[in-house]
């Protein structure tokens, strides 16, 4: 059913809209050669994130609310680790959670991968929210070796390589 929905969405996107629903998340990847690390900023609608965690783990979370718990954050990080994988120079790397903050209704998360002196290639696999919202778009904006590049990942195209 979900895949079918995915199909519909391609069509809907193709036929356009008077109003664009904002099912877009942004993942910014910045390489700092000085600090030899890859810095990752995630920008996700907090409502969508809570819904995805509910769908995925059947647990009610309160991210972005006063009642948010440490367990909610841990679950979010588990969800991201399971749905957002990064291969640096052909090697899968896990990222460490640094902090998060709320900007309007967007949850901004900061993560890092240490010990990355140089990047030759980045392979991104991203299924964040795509099973909750078939029309979800994940915009990957990478910035390494002095070059900005982007990738648009969706339920249909879940991975891509940047060089």
């Amino acid at each position: 059913m979900r895949k079918t929905l995915g199909f519909i969405i391609i069509f809907v996107v193709l036929s356009g809209f008077g109003w664009h629903k904002f099912y877009v998340s942004i993942f910014q990847l910045h390489h700092s050669p000085d600090k030899k690390r890859l810095e990752i900023t995630t920008r996700l609608f907090v409502d969508d994130l809570n819904k995805a965690l509910q769908d995925h783990y059947h647990q009610t979370t309160h991210l972005g609310e006063e009642t948010e718990t440490a367990a909610d954050i841990a679950l979010m990080n588990r969800y991201l680790a399971e749905n957002f994988t990064i291969e640096v120079n052909g090697q899968k790397k896990s990222f460490a959670f640094v902090s998060k903050e709320l900007d309007n209704n967007v949850l901004v998360g900061y993560y890092k991968i240490n010990d990355i002196p140089k990047i030759k290639s980045l392979k991104i696999l991203n299924t964040v929210l795509t099973q909750t919202y078939a029309e979800q778009q994940n915009m990957i904006q990478a910035d390494f070796n002095g070059k900005k590049q982007s990738l648009l990942l969706t339920a249909e195209k879940t991975s891509g390589v940047l060089k």
């Binding site: 079918t4 036929s15 664009h20 409502d47 209704n105």
Partner: protein
């Protein structure tokens, strides 16, 4: 005084170029005027008697008229629509027309449509069985108009040619200026389930067997003919919406007798289609200005949705001076309404929704419609139509005159998150707002999406902020456009790009122009100048067809703010804002000349600055700087200055003199291509601060780097460029002096 400043400017401006000429050896090529402040003669169409240089319609401005009488019947069982129409078309152009073009928008869903063929497609590595079946096995939806006939006023068949979504009527003799022609057309089409086949109209099918119809582009419509495009007959590929002629409509719509309907225009036979009880409630709503009155209750709707009546009813509507007509009908509909009072007239705010939309819809929809009309009217003109209707249609957000489709439903248990609530409110405000742009200020959407979406998204952000102070506003605030404008340039287009060739539609055609207008209002022009000019544009072009030039010119003509640089940068390029602080030097006033100082020769030009006793400005990084200089200016200790003041001014005059103590020279650089004002916040050591703004024109002689001096009474601890993030500066790490240890979010 002004003369002197001018002299200094000339001096500064000319000197570096002389030096450059003396030192450079390789011969350089010349260039045309590349100044960012050059006027837009290279970009804008030449003004003429149709459209003036002031941005107003000219003395020869004209527009065509298309009046419609339409009868349609809905076959609910087979989801099919049958129609006949009589179009009366008036040629108001001075030239005669050899042929007429009509739009057959439904043909985008025909099996022969070329729309699916212009998209990239790749094999999916994995695909659901249902998806595979749909993609490779099942017959495609059989959409598109099936034309029965096209006849003239006397009933004789007319010659016509269909080219995809456009139809040419081949006239026997040209239609002269001022002449009318009558076309009679009969057609039918299969209505699409938009949840499966997509589209801006169609129906949603519910588990209970009912359909909720949102009918639009349901009849052959006249294309626009005007002084800019000739016939606007660019095919309907899907992204570029509509260009439509104004006219008057009489539409009779026959549907199952248990349906509840709303449509463009004024219902002519309410007593035939409402129960006496509903009629009474409607009359109450007409006088309820503070809250909606339920006209068709949820209980009535739930009873009706089980009925599947075989009887029919005809709803009769008349609409004046509209560019289009749309209908929503279903037996599932609940209806509520309230009245909205404007200065000289009132209008109705109405909502239609199935029970699946409650409790969200009965709580918010009609109130949001009423608020939108008031907010938008205050920025443009009094809402001229008799009503505005918001219809709850899953996954839709689409506008038509007086009626629009809006998404947003709670969970099955009636609960909803803030995101769902604000999403629904946002889309209602947006689509109702489209009544102003492009329904009334009727721009060409097929060509320029931003002209209605950008202006509308801007007004939407103002209406949202006044509806609820906690409303999360995604598009409008400058900082929210930064992720888009700082992105990979290969994925960006200027706003001035045709609707079909925009890769990030939402950011390019909605977000960026809304942000640009917000910046104009908040930062460049101020509310008074902006609001007057924006209102002038709306009033000049209401019930007319404006172009981008008409907008750009009016904004400048009505405000005396030169905006060519702003429109050129923000609308015609993909440049972004990035202004930084390159260097700050502190200077100290000294009696003693620096080593190797040679007094400048006094000339007629510099005599005021360079003659007589001199005082010297020593920079903190110069070899002449001594640690003991590092103190606030005390005039008494600078003999030449002290003597000058003592002899020149009386005690009374001395009391009025300013008393700066600290002197700084700040050099700003501009890695970004956009010119923008430099907004500088000076934070003093005592914790106070002041903000100074230098107009964008400060960049006119040097697009890379400019300097300013600041003479202050208190020592500066920190300087910040764009402290309130109002210019969409994409890199704020260079905005602060002393270079803040940018606290990395990742340490």
């Amino acid at each position: 005084m002004k003369k002197h400043i001018l002299f200094i400017w000339l001096f500064i401006a000319i000197t570096p170029s002389i030096i450059a000429q003396e030192t450079s050896k390789a011969k350089e090529k010349g260039h045309t005027d590349q100044n960012k402040f050059r006027q837009m003669y290279d970009l804008l169409a030449t003004p003429n008697s149709y459209r003036t240089a002031s941005g107003a319609p000219g003395p020869d401005y004209y527009q065509q008229q298309a009046d419609y009488k339409i009868d349609i019947e809905l076959d609910d069982k087979n989801t099919k629509l049958y129609g006949t129409e009589t179009i009366t078309y008036t040629n108001n152009a001075k030239e005669s027309l050899d042929y007429l073009w009509l739009q057959l928008d439904q043909n985008i869903a025909a099996r022969t449509s070329k729309t699916p063929l212009v998209d990239n497609s790749k094999i999916d590595p994995s695909i659901s069985a249902a998806g595979f079946s749909r993609k490779y096995l099942e017959a495609k939806f059989d959409g598109g108009f099936k034309l029965d006939y096209v006849k003239d006023a006397k009933g004789n068949p007319m010659s016509y040619t269909v080219n995809e979504t456009m139809m040419r009527i081949n006239l026997d003799k040209p239609l002269q200026h001022g002449e009318k022609i009558v076309l009679n057309i009969k057609w039918n089409y299969n209505i699409n389930n938009y949840m499966i086949d997509g589209g801006r109209s169609g129906y949603e099918h519910f588990k209970d067997g009912n359909n909720l119809y949102i009918l639009a582009q349901f009849y052959p419509r006249m294309a626009v003919y005007n002084d800019v495009e000739g016939w606007q007959n660019m095919q309907f590929w899907g992204a570029g919406e509509f260009a439509l002629t104004f006219g008057n409509y009489e539409v009779n719509i026959t549907v199952p007798a248990d349906h509840i309907m709303e449509a463009t225009g004024v219902l002519q036979n309410r007593s035939e289609v409402f129960t006496p009880e509903q009629l009474k409630r409607y009359n109450q709503a007409e006088n309820s200005f503070d809250k909606p009155v339920i006209i068709v209750t949820q209980a009535e709707a739930m009873a009706a949705e089980k009925g599947f009546s075989a009887k029919k009813k005809t709803w009769r509507y008349k609409a004046e001076n509209v560019r289009d007509f749309a209908i929503s009908t279903s037996r599932k509909f609940i209806m509520d309404a309230m009245a909205v009072q404007f200065e000289t007239k009132k209008a109705m705010a109405i909502s239609l929704y199935p029970k699946e939309g409650n409790p969200l819809w009965e709580t918010y929809s009609t109130r949001a419609v009423a608020h939108t009309l008031k907010s938008y009217s205050s920025h443009t003109f009094e809402y001229p139509y008799p009503k505005a209707v918001s219809v709850n249609a899953q996954d839709q957000g689409m506008e038509y005159p007086m009626i629009c489709w809006n998404f947003g439903r709670p969970q099955e248990d009636g609960t909803y998150t803030d995101r769902v609530k604000y999403g629904m409110l946002g889309v209602i405000i947006h689509e109702v707002g489209h009544n102003y742009f492009p329904m009334i200020v009727n721009s060409d959407e097929r060509q320029w999406t931003w002209m209605d979406e950008g202006l509308n998204t801007f007004l939407q952000s103002l209406a949202q902020a006044t509806f609820d102070p906690k409303f999360p506003i995604d598009r409008g605030p400058a900082k929210n456009i930064v992720p888009y404008m700082s992105g990979d340039q290969s994925k960006l287009e200027p706003i001035m790009t045709n609707s079909e060739s925009i890769s990030q539609f939402g950011n390019n055609a909605y977000g960026k122009p809304a942000t640009a207008l917000n910046i104009l209002r908040e930062t460049i022009m101020g509310h008074d100048l902006f609001d007057y000019a924006f209102k002038t544009y709306a009033n000049r072009w209401k019930f007319k067809h404006p172009t981008p030039e008409d907008f750009f010119r009016t904004m400048e003509d009505a405000s005396a703010v030169d905006l060519d640089w702003f429109f050129r940068g923000w609308f015609y390029t993909t440049d972004y804002t990035d202004i930084g602080i390159k260097e700050v030097k502190q200077f100290f006033v000294s009696n003693d000349p620096p080593k190797d100082f040679k007094a400048p020769e006094v000339t007629r030009r510099n005599r005021l600055k360079a003659s007589g006793p001199l005082v010297y400005m020593i920079a903190n990084d110069s070899p002449d700087f001594k640690p003991e200089m590092n103190k606030p200016l005390d005039i008494k200790s600078v003999t030449a200055l002290d003597e000058f003041i003592q002899t020149k001014f009386t005690a009374e005059e001395k009391a009025k003199l300013d008393s700066p103590k600290y002197f700084y020279q700040v050099t700003f650089n501009k890695p970004g291509g956009l010119v923008m004002p430099i907004i500088v916040e000076l934070s003093f050591e005592d914790g106070t601060s002041e903000t100074q703004t230098f107009p964008a024109q400060i960049w006119r002689f040097n697009d890379a780097e400019v300097s300013r001096m600041f003479a202050t009474k208190k020592p500066i601890a920190k300087i910040t460029v764009d402290p309130k993030l109002e210019t969409a500066d994409i890199d704020t790490t260079n905005n602060v002096w002393p270079k803040a240890e940018v606290k990395s979010k990742f340490d």
